[in-house]
Amino acid sequence: MSELLSIYRHALTARLIDERLEVLARGGRIGLHPDSQHAEVVIVAATLALGEGDWVFPTARDHAAAFARGVPVATYLAHVIGSASDPLSGHAAPGCFCSREKKIAPPTGQLSQHLTQAMGLAWAARLRRDGACVLALLPETAADAGDFHSALNFAGATKAPIVFLVRTDGSEAPAPDVEVADKGIAYGVAAVDVAGDPETVLFAVREASERARRGEGPTLLEARISVAPSLGAGGSAPGPGDPLEKLRRKLIDDGAFDESADWHHRREVMGEIEAAIVAAIDAGPPSPDAIFDHVFAELAPHLSRQREQLRKVHEAPR
C-alpha cells in the first residue's frame, strides 16, 4: 500500500469513529469524545514519518495517531466505551488513550502539559543515547499556554530530540505576520512552517526527526490546514478544504481507487466500528474493584479498606 493510501485509510478510520461517537455522546451513551477537527491527515502523516523506536505524545483529539501505530479499532472503542475490555481499566476519559507497547503517551486534559513531558522523555532518550525521537502533537490553542513555552525553553536548552507539530488554521488568508513556528526561534528551536498536505508533512517530520536524532536539536513544525469546528460545536461537514476529502480526491485522480471501491471500504470500516461498539457494550463495565486499581503500584492500606466498603455497598440488597 502506498504511503498516501495508508494515510488516507487511517485518517478515514479516525473520521468515521468521530462521527459515530458524536452520535453516541449526544445520546448520552458515552462521555464527550473530542474529535480531530479535520486534522487526521496531518496526525497520521506525522506519525507514519517516525521510526518504530520513536514516541508520540498526542492530545485527546489525536486518536488517528493510535491507528497509524497499529492500535486495533476494537481496542480503541473498548477504551471509549470504558468497558471491561478497556486496557485502561475505564480510568481515562474518551480520547485519552495510550499504549506503552505502541509508544503512545497518555494525553492530558490540561491543554499543553504533555509538551514538557514529551520534552522530558526526549531528553531521557538522549541521555540514554537510544536514538529515539519524540513527536509532540498540539493544536494552535496549546501554543498560548504556559507549558508550550516551558517545553520549548527546555528543549532549546537541552537539544532534546523532539519535534513539536502544531496544526494551525491556514484556511483564512492572508497569513498572519507572526506564525506559531516563529515562537521557536527565541528558544533556539528550529522553526519550520509548511503546508498541511500529507506529503509535505511526511517529508518535514522525517527531516526534523532525523535532524533531532543527529543531535542537531528540536524543531517546531507548523502545518497549516483547514481546521474545522468540533463536531459537538456543529462543525464538520467535509468541504473541499477538508484535508481528508482533498486526499480522497487526489487518490481517486491518481487511480488508487474509485468512488465505488472507496464506499465499499467505508462500509467495511463502519461495520468494524459497529461490531467493536457492540463487543465493548457486551463486555459490560469493569468490576467496581477497578476503581481502586492503579492508584499506586500496590494497593495502599487505606484503599484496601475503601475497596471493602464499596464491595459491601454492592453486596447489600437494594
Partner: protein, 327 residues
C-alpha cells in the same frame, strides 16, 4: 564491617542520593542550581563532580518545566529526583504534580507510571517570610496518587529517601529546613532503607498521644518533657510518612491513652491534623476521654516578623498537653 558517623540531615540526604545514584544509573537529579552550585541548601553538593552533567542537571528556572520534564523522564524509565528550591515554589508545578504525575498510572490503566521523588525544603523558623516557610503537605495528601514523606532526623531522612527513590510511584519528599543542620546523629555510612508508611513511637507515655512530624517533632518532645514534670506522660509519634499514613500505630497509642493532640506548622483549617484526628475518631471514638485536639499554625499567611508567634512551638503545645492530659 558496618561503620557510621555523625551526620546532619543535609549530609545524610546527600549520602542517600549518592548511594542511590551509584546503585541505579537511572537515577538523575534535576533542578535549579543543583549541579555546580550543589543546590540552594548544598544538599546535592559534590554529586555533579562525581556523576557529571548527564546525571546532575541544572535546569532553566521553571518549576512546571522541571516537573513536566521529570514526568517524561520517569515515563521513559528513568528515576528522576527533581529538587524544588523551596516548597513555596512548588505551585508553578502544582498542575503537573496533581493533574499529571499523580494520575499517570491511574489514567493509563497501569500502562505508564511516574516513579520520581520531588524533594523540597518545608517549614518556617529561618526568617524566610511568606515564600520560604510554608508547609503545603495537605494539598498533596488530598491528591490521590501521591505519597508524602517528611523525615524529622538525619537517620530517617537517609533511609526514607532511599525507599522513596526505589518506590514505583511519585513521592513528595518534604525536608524540614530548620532541621537541616540543627540535628546531628549517628548515621550508618552504608546504604539502607527505612520503609515508607511506617510510623514510629519516639517517646512512650500513657496519658496523651502526640502526633508531630518534621521540625515540630522537636517542639512536641520539648513540650512533653515540660509536662512530664507535672505528671503528664505523653506518647509522641512521628508518622514519618504522612501518606499513606500508618494509622495503626496512632490508633494503638490512642486506645492506650484515650487522648490525642496533633501538632503541625501548616494552617489549621483543612490541615493534615484534621484528617489524622478524624481517622482516629472513626476507629477509636469509644476510647476518647478528652476531645481530639490540634496545635497548629494560625489560619493566616506565613508572617515574616512574627514567625515565632505563628509556629506551634513548645510554649504553645505544653499548655494544650496539660489541658488535655487533665481533662
Amino acid at each position: 564491617m558496618t561503620t557510621s558517623s555523625q551526620k546532619n540531615m543535609v549530609q545524610s540526604i546527600n549520602e542517600a542520593l549518592r548511594l542511590e545514584m551509584q546503585r541505579d544509573d537511572r537515577v538523575v537529579i534535576l533542578g535549579e542550581d543543583v549541579g555546580k552550585v550543589g543546590g540552594v541548601f548544598r544538599v546535592t553538593q559534590g554529586l555533579w563532580d562525581e556523576f557529571g552533567d548527564d546525571r546532575v542537571i541544572d535546569t532553566p528556572l521553571n518549576e512546571g518545566g522541571i516537573i513536566g520534564a521529570a514526568i517524561g523522564m520517569a515515563a521513559y524509565g528513568m528515576r528522576p529526583v527533581p529538587e524544588i528550591q523551596f516548597a513555596d515554589f512548588i505551585f508553578p508545578a502544582f498542575d503537573q504534580i496533581v493533574s499529571e504525575a499523580a494520575k499517570f498510572r491511574y489514567r493509563s490503566g497501569g500502562e505508564y507510571s511516574c516513579p520520581m521523588v520531588i524533594r523540597a525544603p518545608v517549614g518556617g523558623g529561618i526568617r524566610g517570610g511568606a515564600y520560604h516557610s510554608q508547609s503545603p503537605e495537605a494539598l498533596f495528601i488530598h491528591t490521590a496518587g501521591l505519597k508524602v514523606v517528611c523525615p524529622s532526623n538525619p537517620h530517617d531522612a537517609k533511609g526514607l529517601l532511599a525507599s522513596a527513590i526505589q518506590d514505583e510511584d511519585p513521592v513528595l519528599f518534604f525536608e524540614p529546613k530548620r532541621v537541616y543542620r540543627a540535628v546531628k546523629m549517628d548515621v550508618p555510612d552504608e546504604a539502607y532503607v527505612t520503609p515508607l508508611g511506617v510510623g514510629k513511637v519516639v517517646r512512650e507515655g500513657e496519658h496523651v498521644t502526640v502526633v508531630a512530624w518534621g521540625a515540630m517533632l522537636y517542639e512536641a518532645l520539648s513540650a512533653a518533657e515540660q509536662v512530664a514534670e507535672q505528671g503528664i506522660e505523653c506518647e509522641v509519634i512521628d508518622p514519618r510518612t504522612l501518606w499513606p499514613l500508618d494509622i495503626d500505630v496512632i490508633v494503638k497509642s490512642v486506645e492506650k491513652t484515650g487522648r490525642i493532640v496533633v501538632v503541625h506548622e501548616a494552617p489549621k483549617a483543612c490541615g493534615f491534623g484534621a484528617e489524622v484526628l478524624q481517622l482516629v475518631t472513626e476507629k477509636s471514638f469509644l476510647h476518647f476521654t478528652a476531645p481530639p485536639t490540634r496545635v497548629t499554625g494560625w489560619d493566616t499567611p506565613f508572617p515574616y516578623t512574627l514567625e515565632n508567634d505563628y509556629l506551634p512551638l513548645a510554649h504553645r503545645i505544653a499548655p494544650k498537653l496539660l489541658e488535655i492530659g487533665k481533662y
